[in-house]
């Protein structure tokens, strides 16, 4: 009935290791499921404030003709002259620097999580923790080409947590300093993470010159494992400037 000292001390060390590993795993789960969302909520609120302040400050907007590379071919036709003042059109938006919030996205179907959600230039972890990320080399809201975005579906604010509820025909409203762009979702597809063609100006047709203004939403699939990507595409169906006021879709919150 005698257990040697040696066996006992080995058992004690093993117990400590198991307790430590268990505690670390639990703590990491708490970090992911709770703490990243707490921090994201704070970052999102601050990004929203920054966007409101920058729109407020821009009472006399400087028109800069610098469309993104892939939309350049489509927007080159009318941007030749430098005569001021040009009216603000989608094609003359200044490309925001990485990390800057420049738009607000609302999706009535996902009103609980995507309502006036900041759209931040860039899709690295820092930007995605603040809201919806915008692939930097893709079109800006309303521009001909592909306004491509990404957002978390789990942890870090998880704006796209109910991505599986989206349906064909759902509207996505993107508000910029100049007005509102309403997109209608048309089709979705689950692809591999390396399928970068989904954010091409004309998805599935490399090198084609775009004629339509598209939106792309990308997120992880499955929600907690992320070895695929879930993509939704939509097309621009309505453009409204500041004088016209917000589109009807923005009055729908609460009925979703």
């Amino acid at each position: 009935m005698s257990v040697s000292r040696r066996t006992r001390s080995i058992a004690r060390v093993a117990a400590d290791v198991l307790i430590t590993v268990g505690a670390l795993v639990l703590l990491f789960a708490v970090y992911q499921l709770w703490w990243t969302n707490v921090q994201a909520a704070r970052a999102t609120a601050s990004a929203r404030t920054d966007i409101a302040a920058s729109w407020e400050a821009a009472t006399s907007p400087v028109v800069t003709v610098s469309p993104p590379a892939d939309a350049g071919a489509a927007s080159g036709s009318e941007s030749g002259s430098s005569e001021a003042p040009l009216p603000d059109t989608p094609e003359t938006q200044a490309v925001p620097p990485i990390g800057k919030g420049f738009a607000l996205m609302s999706i009535p179907r996902l009103a609980d999580s995507v309502w006036e959600m900041p759209v931040i230039q860039g899709v690295s972890a820092d930007e995605l923790a603040k809201g919806i990320g915008h692939y930097p080399d893709t079109a800006l809201p309303g521009q001909i080409g592909n306004f491509a975005t990404a957002a978390h579906r789990a942890t870090n604010g998880e704006p796209f947590k109910d991505f599986d509820r989206l349906k064909k025909g759902d509207r996505v409203v993107v508000e910029t300093q100049d007005g509102w762009f309403v997109y209608e979702l048309e089709k979705d597809k689950i692809v591999l993470p390396s399928d970068t063609w989904v954010i091409d100006p004309v998805p599935g047709d490399p090198g084609a010159i775009p004629t339509e203004a598209l939106i792309t939403l990308t997120t992880c699939n499955p929600r907690w494992a992320s070895y695929e990507r879930w993509i939704w595409w939509g097309t621009l169906v309505e453009t409204r400037d500041r004088t016209q006021g917000p589109p009807a879709e923005l009055a729908e919150r609460g009925e979703a």
Partner: protein, 60 residues
């Protein structure tokens, strides 16, 4: 390890409990502020973008 730490904490039991709680708080803070943010970047669970290099850390 935990028994060893406990036996090396100074003072009476009340003080030891207090110091132990502080030690745990420091460890949790270091984990949440430095270790877990790094670990999160290394793990693929938070990847939501399409990326030419995305295949590198994805589970098949």
């Amino acid at each position: 390890m935990y028994a060893w730490i406990w036996s090396h904490l100074p003072g009476p039991t009340a003080v030891r409990v207090l110091v132990a709680v502080l030690l745990v708080a420091v460890v949790v803070a270091v984990l949440f502020l430095f270790v877990f943010p790094w670990l999160e970047q290394v793990l693929p669970f938070g990847d939501v973008t399409v990326d030419a290099l995305a295949g590198n850390n994805s589970v098949p």
